[in-house]
Amino acid sequence: MNHAPRGLNRVLLVIFGLVLLAAGAAALALAFVPDLRTLWSDNAGGVVDGVDEALKAAPLGETGHSVWLLAAVAACVLLIILGLVLLSRQGGGRTKQVLRQKPNPSRTAAGAPAGGIVLDVSAANDALTEALQAHPAVLASSVTAHEHARTVTLRIATTVRTDASPGQVADTATNLVRSWNAAVGAETPAVIVINSGLRSALSSNTGRVR
């Protein structure tokens, strides 16, 4: 449920795929079509000369180099930065605070909290995993908080035994979310993810009780 730029990832995969497809097809054509080979070798020299001319046409002062080389370095640096930005954007969206309540000056009644309230995700993690552990089918669970469009969502991930009834685990977890909301006094959206992992495959205890 992280904030990876999925659409962009797919667009890039398609672009890389098309470029590689074109290069591969060109190499295959050069390898197996003799006419194309002669066409390529007849014209390649002219193209190389043309490129050299273009480079010489834009000299970099008295150095004997071309301005284009400098532009190429800049382009490399720019693309490298873009690539690193893309890689760094792949995760994210996690937050540590489940609940944030600003100080409310109008609440002056005795016993009302005077300051703001910040509830850390570890509180939700401790409470919910502890409660989920009581379900016999649950092997492990963890709770994280994610923020999107200024709404914090709880993500409750549980690993269950292979013989677990997902409907039952889902009901239990949903009820726990309701209890959590009641205890905290706020409606926090929750996403419950029920998985079976390697651990559940190793710890199945099926069909032994008759």
Binding site: M1, A4, R6, N9, R10, V11, L12, L13, V14, F16, G17, L18, L21, G24, A27, L28, L30, A31, F32, W40, S41, A44, V48, V51, D52, T63, L69, L70, A72, V73, C76, V77, L79, I80, G83, L86, L87, Q90, H148, T151, T153, I156, V160, D163, A164, S165, P166, G167, A170, T174, V177, R178, P189, V191, I192, V193, I194, N195, S196, T206
Partner: protein, 192 residues
């Protein structure tokens, strides 16, 4: 954003691959190539010896590609085409991760199909009174194929199993809904 839209977004994100690894590998390769190319150009500008090939030789190198052994050129082209098709498949494919979901007002629930298969196998084995190892469940996008190997000499009531599985699925309320297809093997096995 309403809670329901938040939930549908979460469900979509949980049930489809983000393609992080698939895009990270070509991007890292591209970064390394760019790093090398940039370094070669800078060395050329500083009139230092090249690492592998000076930028001035790049165009003539590319032009001389037709002089290469056609076999190697063909192998390289074929490898490139295969990799390209893999990338296009990853980019255009649905990338489903095999999950069911249901959205309640308190929470969205996402279940791995393997968990669903496990619970269906257990229900089927209980309904037919056979060992769990005699049931194999394969879950597709909208069907659950249940393959049952009966104990030799003990007939199995497929309809009974079907109604048990339907009841189980009815209780789940997970989407996309599953159709149950039951296949009973004609050859039985010795009960373990």
């Amino acid at each position: 954003m309403t809670t329901h839209r938040l939930y549908t977004r979460a469900v979509r994100r949980e049930s489809h691959s983000p393609r992080t690894l698939a895009v990270a590998i070509p991007v890292i390769v591209l970064l390394l190539v760019l790093l090398w190319a940039g370094a070669e150009i800078v060395l050329e500008l500083l009139r230092q010896p090249a690492l592998l090939a000076a930028p001035t030789d790049w165009t003539s190198g590319l032009a001389g590609i037709s002089e290469l052994d056609p076999v190697w050129l063909g192998v390289a082209g074929a490898v490139a085409v295969i990799l390209a098709l893999v990338l296009l498949g990853l980019g255009l494919g649905a990338g489903r991760t095999g999950k069911r979901h249901r959205i309640d007002e308190a929470a969205a629930v996402i279940v791995d199909d393997r968990v669903v298969a496990g619970s269906l196998a257990l229900s089927a084995s209980r309904a037919a009174d056979i060992d769990r190892g005699q049931v194999r469940v394969t879950i597709g996008r909208s069907t659950a194929d249940v393959e049952i190997t009966p104990t030799s000499g003990v007939p199995v009531d497929a309809e009974l199993i079907r109604s048990a599985l339907m009841a189980e699925l009815e209780r789940f309320r997970f989407e996309p809904a599953l159709r149950v297809a039951i296949r009973v093997n004609t050859k039985g096995t010795v009960s373990p």
